[in-house]
Symmetry: D2
Subunit: 294 residues, 4 copies
């Protein structure tokens, strides 16, 4: 299969389930909502080594937020529900509550809710009130009062959706990856948790070292293409980037994969798109490239 002259390998991405919450941060303006969202989602690329996987989903316009101010939606992911709760407590308490002009609202309507008790920061001066039809806490602080919704929905989502961009040159691969991330940004319910949305270091499970559960995938390392047997790197390829996608459901991850691939093949120098899997035995979800692009 070819798209814009670029080969699309007949393979699939293998994805896993994680528990996910979605928080809508509002602020006096877009800029401050974004500053808070970036702090709250930092150190959040992969649960292999970060306390959570986290990212910015989208801007939420004023007429869609509970308090009528500009907003940013973030998604936080963890293997366990309690892990999501811990991370919400830590990241909302340390990165949103102290951020200028922000408020924090639940962004996921699920039956089950996690109760995040930041109100006690008010040390007795906190009060219950209503904003946009929601019961919230008002917590007096130095800047004024912080508005905070206590209960956050949590659900099973899909993590580790992915595709690889192989290109003739590192800068072509990188620009294509950047373009893919830009495009995916418009797909509701998805995040690309790595730095700038891009992974420079796609890995395999395991390593020759007992203590290391993931390591560089040498078959996808361009500088090893003449040194390892069975390399997956075509002759003309000098660089590969991976896009990793987490989403609230399988459909949104599929849509993001499709949109992302379509955006990346527009960049001159991209020669092939493929995806990462473990033979299909580990993950619950298989996202077939030809199927979603067909």
């Amino acid at each position: 299969m070819e798209l814009n002259g670029v080969e699309i390998e007949d393979t699939f991405a293998e994805a896993f389930s994680l528990k996910m919450a979605r928080v809508v941060i509002t602020a006096a303006n877009k800029r401050w909502a974004m500053v808070a969202a970036k702090e709250a989602t930092g150190f959040g690329t992969s649960v292999i080594g970060c306390p959570a996987e986290a990212g910015i989903e989208c801007l939420v316009p004023s007429d869609k937020t509970p308090d009528g101010r500009p907003g940013v939606a973030i998604i936080m992911c963890h293997p366990k529900k309690d892990g999501v709760k811990d991370q919400l407590l830590g990241r909302l308490g340390q990165c949103i509550l102290p951020a200028p002009t922000t408020a924090s609202f639940n962004g996921l309507e699920t039956e089950e809710k996690l109760s995040i008790k930041l109100q006690f920061f008010g040390d007795g001066f906190q009060y219950e009130t209503e904003v946009g039809g929601r019961k919230v806490w008002g917590i007096p602080m130095m800047e004024g009062d912080f508005i905070f919704e206590e209960n956050y929905g949590v659900q099973k989502g899909v993590a580790g959706g992915n595709f690889f961009i192989l290109a003739k040159n590192q800068m072509a691969a990188l620009t294509a990856a950047e373009n893919a991330v830009d495009a995916i940004y418009d797909v509701e319910g998805t995040i690309t948790p790595f730095p700038g949305g891009i992974v420079a270091s796609g890995s395999k499970v395991g390593s020759q070292y007992k203590f290391l559960m993931a390591s560089a995938n040498e078959k996808y390392c361009p500088t090893l293409k003449n040194k390892v047997e069975g390399t997956s790197i075509p002759k003309e390829v000098e660089s590969v980037y991976e896009i990793v996608i987490n989403g609230l459901d399988e459909e949104s991850v599929k849509q993001a994969t499709k949109i992302g691939i379509e955006a990346s093949v527009k960049i001159p120098g991209v020669v092939k798109i493929t995806a990462g899997n473990y033979g299909g035995d580990l993950g619950q979800y298989k996202i077939n490239l030809h199927e979603i692009l067909g």
Copy 2:
């Protein structure tokens, strides 16, 4: 004392010591160095609830970096040396190694070094090489080879330097705070670890709840000024922001405090500058406002 017509209270900021490391991240261009630095320093405002305190110190121009590419210096802080080591391993491994085009170098010449063993990610294909006169690892990855220095200096630094900006209006206070952070950005060896460099929620030690070791400082809450006894909020003040400064030594924190205050009093509507302390019994450092501005 007055500065640009703004009252400077005769008081001091009380600061503490934390262990600090400094990492120089380089990349193909400034933008990608910055993207990686932001991811690596996120979820890093206060060790009360974050795994580290972390922030961007400054841009490092190409002619000052080991590999001659544009760089960004970040500082990571933790109460214990082992904590700094854990955080370097996690944040370099999960936020810098996977970020497009980056390399990672030690930015602190101290005798003691922390060994961060990311090279094993290479799964046997890693190799030793030299860049800019430094012994580094080359780790083959999907994008190409990741260059990584293994040993990072660590030293005692000064954390929790601070001042408060009291203004007639929330937006005046916020713009003054923003301006202070912009100015402090130019002071070598310092970071402002909170979101956008600003704290909206200055706290006191302890609370009425046993489980909560820090809570809103009600004497500095403008919306409580008529409700609590002994409020520190003048009649005309409607909002307060705090700037928190960590630095590699006391001198740099003093300099940042001075520069930050001078920048904030330029904003119309600011009426008073003060600082936070605990009577001087808890912290090792006392930064007297009148002294540094005198």
Copy 3:
């Protein structure tokens, strides 16, 4: 009338007609489309002293552009059709054609078209081709081939829609103005041509100097409120910003005015909203604040 506790004066904005064109600039990614759009719309605040009024209307997602790449729509305005043509020739030729990876397409389906003959830059090597069902020119250049649509629609639009934000403090007024501009950005068919979308220097027609056709409106100058008779500045107001809106039709300017006012009154410290007019004798359009907000 009050909105969020802010007085809305019972008055109207007086607006004028200008000829307008709309260009869709695409590029390899959003960032470069935006860089080109900013250069092309610079020095374009008011036809009183600039060669055109120009601004960025909105981002155009890949699936809405002729070449399937990310885009930015800009609007250019001039009193005369020939003026629009001159400005398109100059700004497309000098700011879009030389910008990295860009292409330029007509963004306005009108019967009348202006023919902009940039193809001759190809010096005989230009060729006709088709992109997204449109007849376009391909012009070989250093970076590769520049794709350019020759004919651009032009129509009568509405310029000078406006409202004033009066606040207790300059930073409150400015943040409110910034927030208004952010919100208006989402209204299709409109631009806010001043720097950052904001006017610090609202003017009146004429002056005491023969050579000067517009000057500061002293009745709206806060620092003159105790010096001029008939000041329009309430006692508690220290700063005023004006938002000027140009749009492709009256409806879009009304919508932008409404959205902008709603966003600005959310900022603490704003005390009054009003609008600028010349008694209704000069402009073709009257945009009544109470009517659009009612």
Copy 4:
């Protein structure tokens, strides 16, 4: 000659003289100074088709500006002194005076000065005052008072310094160009006036059309390399970008050329650097690549 493995052609850039002024714009913070500077320098790439060549030189820290606020220095260029004066009047009056919180100061100490009479905008309410030891005008406006220095230095500068980046792929060429511009930004006294600092459309003097004085240089068009005789495009090159540099003197343009080339050869995929000239008969300045890099 080779630099980082990239061939540097033994040739020179031919540059011309233009008259130049330098303005220091200050504002409440860096961000607003930058917004104003961008508006004021827009539509300013080449005097062939723009009213001026203009660009942002650098940030000016608070302790180096007359009013102690953050600043941005811009440079404006025109073949004639009167042209510089017209452009200062237009661009300061329409893009700086109306921009939020800005002030405007002369940034060039020359004997000859251009008098820019914006003070009349005050319509009689303007007043003389002193800021940072300079005589300035205070002009009451809606936001508060605008501070404006009337007299601006003007001098002969060097325009059209340049080099070309030839790469295997468009994205490699573009990233290298971007990196060069980033690096040049740190060279005092220089600007790169094109969009994002980069020229996609390097031209030759003249064309086959009488009415067109500059056209695409077909010998540097990669898509024509097999169609024109005497192409300058090596077999493996698919894209070329040009960096154009204007500076206050020859030395600064040389330094910027050197720094820019050194930054661009760091990007993988760049294969050759050369420069544009007209045989040396047209321009006053010859900037020899081997000499400055030697």
